[in-house]
Every structure is written in C-alpha cells, then in structure tokens.
Amino acid sequence: MPRVSFEHIVKSYGGLNVLDDLNLSVEHGEFLVLLGPSGCGKTTLLNLLAGLTDVTDGRIMIGDRDVTDLDPKDRGLAMVFQSYALYPTKSVRGNLKFGLSAAKLPREEVARRVDWAAKLLQIEPLMDRRPSQLSGGQRQRVAIGRALVKHADVLLFDEPLSNLDAKLRTEMRLEIMRLHDELNPTVVYVTHDQIEAMTMATRIAVMNGGVIQQFGTPDEVYERPANLFVAGFIGAPAMNLRQGRIAKADGGVAGVFDTGERIALDDYAFARAPQEGAPIVIGLRPEHFGAPNAPLDGAAGRFELPLQHTERTGSDATGYLHWGDGLLSHRVEPGDAARLRPGDTISVAFPRGKANLFDAASGERL
C-alpha cells in the first residue's frame, strides 16, 4: 500500500529554510492537493518527493520504503511537470516510450502500454507528431500519458493546468478526476487555483511560507478554516474578516465589531470559554448573508451600510458595502443586483451559526 509520508522535512537553500520541519502523510488512493500562494514551497515539496532535489534533513517514506536517498527513477513515481517538459525532438509515441526506458520492459509490453495510454487519453491520431505540432491541451495530455504508462502507484502533478484557458482547464480537470477514479493511484497535485483544489481533492493541504496551515477535506478547510491565512485564502470572493471584541450580555455571547455592529455568537462552538473583551477577528462568508433589505429569521446580526458597487461574475453577483474603512462583500441574486444603486443604504442580515472566529493575536481559530 503506497502511503506517502514526509517526516520532519527540512529544505534549505543556502541557509534559507524553504521548508522547516514539515510533516505530512497521504493515504493510499488519496487525491491530495497542495494549495498555496506562489513561492510557498509546493514545487519544492514535490521535487523532494520525486528525488529531483535532496532533502536537507528528514525522511520521506513511500509505503514502508525509505526513499530519502533513492534515485528518482527507483522511487516508483511518475510526474507531470508544471511546463509539460515534453522531449521536443521526439514524436508523441517516442515521448511515451521514453517514459518507460528505465523500466526495461519487453518490447510488446511497451507497445501495449503506449497504446493503452494513447487510447485512454484520446491522443491516438497524434502519435507521430512532434510536440511543437500539438495544441496546449494535447501537449498536456501527452505529458499525462508519459506519466501514466509507467503504471506508477503514485502520480505527481505540478500545476498541470495553470496555462490552459478556462474551458480547457475544466475539461482537463474532469479528465484527471476520471483517470483517478479509473486507475485509483495516490495523487499529489500542486496548484494555486482553489477551484481546482476544492473540486478535485479528497484532502487539501494549505501551505504558506513553507508551513502547512491546514490539512483536511475540502469541506473542513472551507467551513472551518484553522487560521486567518486559510480563512482569507480559501473562497472567492474572500471571507469578510474584521476586528472586534467578545461581549457577554444577558447570558449570551456576542461579538462587537470595532465599527459598532454586533453579532450574536451563541451558536458558535468555542474551543475554550470566551473571555469578556478579548480581541478577536470575526469572519463572515459573503454567501451566507441574506438577501438585501429582506427580513431573515433568527439573524445573528444586521448591517445597514451604503452600497459601493456590485460585481457580476457569471451565475453570481456580489455587492460591496462601505464598512468603516473597508468593504463588506455579500452575495446577491444577479436579478437583485441590477436593482441596487451605488450610494443606496442596504440592509443585510447574517444568520446564526455561520461566523468564524479567530484569536486576534495568534490568528488561530477560537
């Protein structure tokens, strides 16, 4: 059972620690997405697993083999690179075949696997073309094919879709998910696109600055972000995060924003009993707000603020209200958005049990 685990990994480039004591383990057949902003160490982590760079310290296990000092070709992995990295002078067939050159297979087996991958990825008519004669999506599929022919138990993807247009990206996303369902390899998939992460992953590891901020299912990461970074990073439009204080009154707990609004927090599952007056950050997802100027049963709080502008993104629309020195974003029905005028005062309600609370000092979830 190939279970991939990183144990106390340290990677430094000339004294600068890019990764510092990182621990992570991926179960068999899991689709793990490494999600994080540019430069946070995702590619570094993947290259360490592939053996393309050496760890400074720590241990990498695949199954129960310690692969830390193994050559890349002996690790039993296949990788799809950020830039495809096809061999420019080889035909598509040649590219796929070269993927098997370390395996020392009999010729019929090589041909069989190449044909299998070509069929699976629907690149059969392209087999004799050079990479330069292919479109972006076709190159992408060849790159995936070159990884698949190896029948590796662990597949690594490094932002494979980042340069494709939106339509092709959706298509390829579905294709990769289909391949995962069909072949069920363990996948480590790097991206900084949160839609990819939310749709494909069985689990997401959110990284920032070389540190794993949260490791959980897409739902967990979205619904219960572990800290302020995850809360702000996951979700588009982003969660509204505002400073406030805990206020206790009439036996209930509430949050008071620095701008004066109150929000009831009776339904919040505090990990520790809240302290009166403790500084907190309150996070409100835009899509949880009720419709503008409409009543909401059992609302936790209500905001009456002037509208700055509305923004239409296809099937959704977002209204932005002036709130102190910042903005409050809330989802609106596209039909309603057209009726709202900038400058109007809008009243939106936030329901109970949906707020996220973080410690203002540490940024950790309360």
Binding site: A50, K73, A78, S83, A85, Y87, P88, S101
Partner: protein
Amino acid sequence: MTQLDVTEAAAGATVIRGRARARRRRGLTGRSIAVLVFLTMCALFFCVPLYVVLTTSLKTMEEIRQGQIFALPETWTFEAWNFAWNEACSGITCEGLKVGFWNSVRILVPSLILSISLAMVTGYALALWEVRWAGTFLFLLFLCAFVPLQIIMFPLIAITRTMGVYGTIMGVAVVHSVMAMPVLTLIFRNFYKDIPREIMNAAIMDSGSFWKIFVEIILPMSGNILIVVLILQITNVWNDYLVGVTFGGFNTQPMTVNLANMVTVSTGTATYNVDMAAALLTAIPPLVIYFMVGKFFVAGITAGAIKG
C-alpha cells in the same frame, strides 16, 4: 512623422494599411542608406583584392608580365590551377597542393571528432548534471581559453613525443583538439544550460541514465550548436599554420604549410598565377563547408516542449 499623424487621424482598415506603408517607406530612407553605403564600401574593400587574385589565377604568365592587374584575362585558362593542384613544388617534392589538401583533411576529421565529442559530453555533464567542483572546473576552463599556444608549445612537444604521435597526422589532430577543448566546452555548456530544467528532470525520472539521456534527448537538440562549433573548428583547423608546421612531420604537413612552402621557396621567377590559384584552392574548402552546413540551421530547438 507626418505620415503617421495622418494615418492616425484616418479610421479603421486605412489605419492599419497606412501604418504598414509608413513602416516600409521608413525602412528605405535615411539611416538605412548610410548603412548600405558603409556595407558597400566594406564589400568593395574585400572584393577588389579577391577580384585581382581570381583574375590573376586565370591568366597566363605572359599576360601577368604586362602589369595590368585590374584587366580581365584575354585568354581564360585553368592551367595555373591544374599546375598548383598537381605539380607545383613544395620543398623537394613536386606533387602539388593535393598532398597538403589530403593531409589537412586527415588532420581535420580526427581533430573534429575528438574535440567536439569530448567538449560536448563535458559541457553536457557540467550544465545538466551535478558535478562536484563544477564551478572551479569552469573557471579553470575559462582561464585555459586565454592561454596562447606559444606558451605551452614546448611542453606540448614533449607530451606528444612521449605519446609517440609527434610528427604524425594524429599528433597535429591531438594538439588541435586540446587547444580547442576549453572554448568548445564552454560553448556547449552555455548552450545546454538553457535547456529547460524540467525537460532534464523529466528525463532523469524517466531514464536516469547519463548516456541514454545524452544520446536520445540532448544530442538531437544540439543541431544548431553543432553547426556553429563545426564552422568555428573547421576554420580554425584548416587555416592553422603554427600547429601544422610545428607538430606535422615531413610528409604530413597541412595545406597551409604546403602553400607557404610553395609560394616562398619557389626557385626562379615567381609564378603569380600559380601562387594565386594555390591560395584560392587553400581558402575554398571552409567556404564550401559554410554554405553546406548553414542550410541545416533550424529554428527553435525546444519548440513545443514547454508551455507558453
């Protein structure tokens, strides 16, 4: 500029067509004319002597004695060419330049193979694999590239003598290869350094074999740099005199040495037509190679390999 202003005021398709015309017209005026004049002068500077050499080689000696060096030959004859190739004396042998020509070819081929293959593999290793002390080694190569032959002449003679190749074709070839190694290695290394790292990473994961990656992936991508290096090295070796005259044996001297002997040591009156023909014969082979090899240049070696 007025042209541009006018076209900018115009609308739609006229703008585009107008701009294209403006650009083309600007391409033919002003600065470019100065450049053309300059280039023509340069060309003349080279063409006039060439013209004289060429016409002289096609004249008879009687015509040459009339002293009109810019006149076209009255009777065109390849007699001097034939004589220079087959019969002219160089030292005591009178078998023409063809001896030197074949010696040069026999020096050229092994020295090309030796220097290019060694430099290529070394450059590949330095650029794409983790080699211990690679930085130091590169710095040494860089220094070596500036060492003139004259400084290491005596040690080289001693070394080739110990190897038993002094005074042979192989000796000349080996010295040429050694002298070319630093520069060629640096050229190959810099070329391979630009191969996208991920292609190499993919190959390392796919195969991991130094030689297999070299032969199957890197070598097929090396066409253009090979052409550059071939031209450089063929010119170097073919036009060399010093190495040939020092390390070549009595009957194994290259064409340049052969030519020099022929022109300087000829007894009696100077046969200018033969000398000119011999000089041209010696100069032609690299030219032929430029034209042949230049055709193989291809654009974009990594086309399609990476996105964007």
